[in-house]
């Protein structure tokens, strides 16, 4: 059964969640910009999300017929990868927090988050509009 909210809303919400996670990590990196021996941490989810979406849209099993139902993407089951095993090179200056990189990823991430928030807001506005127009 189709609910009132399309599945893309859940997906958008999940991505916003991941972006907030990333924002937290980047803030941790920036806060530790002068901490010796601190290794910058990263959170990667885009590629994995993409493949999870593809996988689920086509079903985890091979579909032998177009009439078979694809399994729906579940936003709840998805998680990003924290790059723990990321091994930095131990050369002075190479493995320390790169402020340029962190600030850029912060800005990028924040903008994407805000854009997604706008998308989700427009979703709801559209929904409201449909409901209101139907009442007339």
């Amino acid at each position: 059964m189709k609910g009132i909210f399309g599945s893309h809303i859940h997906l958008t919400a999940k991505v916003m969640d991941m972006r907030l996670d990333r924002q937290n990590l980047v803030m941790g990196n920036i806060a530790n910009v002068n901490t010796p021996d601190y290794k910058a941490q990263r959170l990667e989810f885009e590629g994995k999300l993409q493949s999870a979406l593809n996988q689920d849209a086509h079903g985890k099993m091979t579909r032998t017929s177009q009439d078979h139902m694809p399994s729906a993407f579940s936003a709840n089951g998805f998680q990003g990868d924290d790059l723990q095993d990321f091994k930095p090179r131990h050369i002075y200056g190479e493995d320390r927090v790169d402020l340029d990189k962190e600030m850029t990823s912060l800005a990028k991430n924040g903008m994407m988050y805000n854009a997604l928030a706008t998308v989700i807001r427009k979703n709801f506005q559209g929904l409201q509009r449909v409901i209101q127009d139907g009442a007339k």
Partner: protein, 146 residues
């Protein structure tokens, strides 16, 4: 994982950089101090930082794995620099020794200024992160406004 965590991390960064700046200005102010409470000239101080987990151990056990890697920063301590004092020949100085030498702390203004710039930039970037998170928070609130 929520907004308040992000703000806490940012605040820890601000606090650390401010502590750093305090110590740097203390060094600058005391660059010609020849007498201290402990006796002898002033010793140059430096701050050491430590990355510290944001959550308490219980939280760490309870929350999902991603959160456990979040790290804020804290000031581990202020340590005295062991570099030798500068010897200046000035027999008329009240703190001159028998040979007429006065010991001054070996504080390099350029070094301190560089550290100061570093701390200021660090502080500013933390302010930026907090501003960004506040904007994100505003946007998230606006979702509810239809």
């Amino acid at each position: 994982m929520d907004f308040m965590t992000a703000l806490d991390i940012g605040a820890s960064g601000l606090k650390a950089q401010r502590a750093n700046l305090n110590v740097i200005s203390m060094n600058m102010a005391n660059m010609r101090t020849t007498k201290t409470m402990e006796g002898g000239p002033y010793r140059r101080k430096s701050v050491s930082f430590e990355a510290t987990p944001v959550y308490s151990p219980f939280d760490t056990a309870m929350r999902d794995k991603l959160n456990q890697n979040l790290q804020g920063v804290k000031v581990l301590g202020v340590t005295a620099d062991e570099r030798p004092f500068k010897q200046v020949y000035d027999p008329h100085h009240p703190d001159a020794n028998d040979q007429g030498y006065v010991f001054y702390p070996d504080i390099n203004v350029v070094e301190e200024m560089t550290n100061m710039m570093n701390a200021t930039r660090g502080y500013e970037s933390n302010v930026q992160t907090i501003t960004a998170v506040k904007q994100m928070f505003q946007r998230a609130l606006q979702i509810g406004q239809g």
